[in-house]
Amino acid sequence: MPERIVTVVPEDGLHARPGATFVETAAESDADVQVGHAGSDLVNAASMLAVTGLGVERGDEVRVVAEGAGAEATLDELERVLTSPEDEL
């Protein structure tokens, strides 16, 4: 299954705008996407509640796993969200 391990760049971590953009991207993808702290349990990346509940902050390492149609393209896009400074989202 394609996956990425990414260090989170945006100041707000996976909250506020970066969180919303991340979840929206995952929800709109045809692939089934899961996310979690590297080395911990994964949650549904299309759920804002689940993603917020991870408490991901800037500088954290997260693991994103995708399965299904367009998995690689979805991961590219999600990696971009996780590594872009907030004002470029």
């Binding site: 260090t7 760049v9 945006p10 100041e11 909250h15 506020a16 705008r17 969180g19 919303a20 953009t21 979840v23 929206e24 929800a27 549904n44 299309a46 759920s47 804002m48 509640l49 689940a50 917020t52 509940g53 408490g55 902050e57 800037r58 500088g59 590594t83 872009s84 400074p85 907030e86 004002d87």
Partner: protein, 565 residues
């Protein structure tokens, strides 16, 4: 009798008015018997309410974009995603399946996640506020309960609330609402951040005592001191109203006896440049360059920084622009700088220590941009200062780096000039060494926030020791006096750029101590300028003498209070 309640000041502004309680949580009665509920109809009601809430959120986001910074308006993007969450919809459907009407099912589903968020540490309290905000929006759509529209509040109201959600706060109109105070919440809560953005007087986290304040009571919300005064006396009220109405003075000011005092602005983000100019600042006394460095994957290049410094000079065609070089440490994560985790980042490798150490490349690039900006037409007004200085060696080394950057620029045929050079006096070491530092610098700037923290070994953000980390502590005043006396003896300029400078009640004290340059938050410029014009030089010197003679915190406070009349 006036009564004082203390909390956390959110915005450095003061407002007086009549208390109005905001009860924002819709009330739900007991659920009816399960067999009385038509599940299909309830599901339809839920979907309709969710659609209505979504439309409302999009409208809220539009409004917020007009009134708040983009980053703050983005809070509503998160709300839109919470509302669309599949787990939440699933929870509501389950509740309806269990025989609950839609509003009770919504309440239960949100409640589970709220409980989970509230158990977690740190910023999750704010996420819980977000979730409550979304829940209440759906509940209002279901129950048809109209929310109190803050636009209907009588002008001059002070809004009191258990907590204010982002939606509540974003709707407060600074032209109608005199301020707000909440029982819960901290400095980083949405309510506090929005208040700062709107320039609205606010005190959050006041605690239980606030609940006893009845609607209709006269109150003063003092965001500068984190204080709510209930039944204020006439003097307190008038002072608050005066402070609200301070006019903008574009020209430099002097004391009542004609001693000129520069009132410049602290700038920590690009938008502050315009705000500083609008509020009549004489220049920039502290340009915090961190904002150029955070939130990105690599450091800003020389050209980008050069443009930023020129922009700052352009915003103040007649004023000084004092740029502080990058001030980061283990408490401010910047991914590309590889900041170490330290047990005590405030006593670790930060400020100039990093610039002369692991961030030498970043420092050189910053100095190149500064030296080139100093060579432009208006560059003579540019100064450079370095943070967290503790030794004379650090100053000498910094000057050496600057000389070698200048030599490189010269060799490459680039135009450059060596700007005026100064250091922050924010460690006790620097304050004690001013008599030696003056041989190596053109000016000094007292960072009273850090100086108070380091002199008193007490962190300002920690409520339990906040009284200790007060610049009005005798030990801090004496450190300031030591520095000012040594600087005056060598004829080296010394200013203050901490929050102390922005408190109009302390202006006379600082002038009396010999300070002639103040740098304050942009919105504080008008009231500090007005305070300067009211200072009588001899009275200010007497005040400084009495404050320095005081051996206790209370003694200093009494000295300041007596003179405030």
């Amino acid at each position: 009798m006036p009564r004082r309640l203390s909390g956390v000041g959110a915005a450095r502004a003061t407002g007086a008015g009549t208390a109005v309680w905001d009860g924002s949580e819709p009330e739900l009665g007991d659920p009816p018997a399960a067999d009385a509920v038509d599940a299909d109809a309830e599901l339809e009601r839920f979907e309709a309410a969710r659609n209505a809430a979504r439309e409302g959120l999009h409208a809220e986001r539009e409004r917020a974009t007009d009134r708040l910074d983009d980053a703050e308006a983005a809070v509503f993007d998160a709300h839109i995603q919470f509302l669309a969450d599949p787990q939440l919809a699933e929870g509501v459907r389950e509740g309806i399946g269990d025989g609950l009407p839609a509003e009770h099912a919504v309440n239960r589903a949100f409640g589970e996640f709220l409980a989970r968020f509230e158990e977690m540490d740190g910023r999750m309290a704010e996420r819980a506020d977000d979730l409550r905000d979304v829940r209440d929006r759906v509940l209002r759509a279901l129950t048809g309960a109209a929310r109190d529209d803050p636009a209907d509040l009588p002008a001059g109201s002070v809004v009191l609330a258990e907590r204010l959600t982002p939606s509540d706060t974003a709707r407060l109109d600074p032209d109608r609402v005199a301020g707000f105070a909440t029982v819960t919440g901290g400095r980083t809560s949405h309510a506090a951040i929005f208040a700062r953005s709107l320039g609205l007087p606010a005190v959050v986290g006041v605690g239980e005592g606030l609940r006893e304040v009845a609607a209709g009571t006269e109150v003063v919300v003092d965001g500068s001191r984190g204080r709510v005064v209930v039944h204020p006396d006439a003097a307190t009220r008038e002072a608050a109203e005066r402070e609200e109405g301070a006019e903008v003075r574009a020209e430099p000011v002097a004391t009542a006896d004609g001693t000129p005092v520069e009132v410049a602005a602290n700038v920590g983000r690009r938008a502050d440049l315009a705000a500083a100019a609008e509020h009549g600042a004489d220049g920039i006394g502290l340009f915090r360059t961190e904002y150029l460095f955070v939130d990105r994957a690599s450091p800003p290049g020389e050209a980008e920084q050069y443009d930023a410094y020129r922009e700052a000079l352009g915003a103040f065609p007649d004023g000084h622009v004092v740029v502080r070089t990058l001030d980061v440490g283990g408490d401010k994560p910047i991914g590309y700088l590889d900041l170490p985790e330290e047990a005590n980042p405030f006593l670790g490798e930060r400020g100039i220590r990093r610039s002369l150490g692991p961030d030498a490349d970043v420092f050189e690039t910053q100095l190149r941009a500064l030296l080139r900006a100093a060579a432009t037409e208006s560059g003579g007004r540019l100064s450079v200062m370095v943070p967290l200085l503790a030794t004379v060696e650090e100053v000498i080394e910094t000057r050496d780096v600057m000389e070698s950057v200048a030599a490189d620029l010269g060799a490459a045929g680039e135009a450059y000039a060596i700007p005026e050079f100064g250091v922050m006096v924010e460690t006790p070491a620097a304050a004690l060494l001013v008599d030696a530092l003056v041989d190596h610098v053109d000016f000094l700037s007292l960072g009273t926030n850090d100086l108070a923290q380091y002199v008193m070994a007490a962190e300002r953000g920690n409520r339990r020791v906040a009284d200790l980390a007060d610049p009005r502590q005798p030990a801090v005043l004496r450190a300031i006096e030591t520095a000012v006396t040594a600087a005056e003896g060598a004829d080296v300029r010394i200013g203050v750029c901490g929050e102390m400078a922005g408190d109009p009640e302390l202006t006379a004290l600082l002038v009396g101590l010999g300070i002639r340059e103040l740098s304050v938050a942009p919105t504080a410029v008008p009231r500090v300028k007005r305070a300067v014009t009211q200072v009588r030089d001899d009275a200010a010197r007497d005040l400084a003498e009495r404050a320095l003679a005081a051996d206790t915190h209370q003694g200093v406070l009494d000295a300041i209070c007596e003179c405030g009349e």
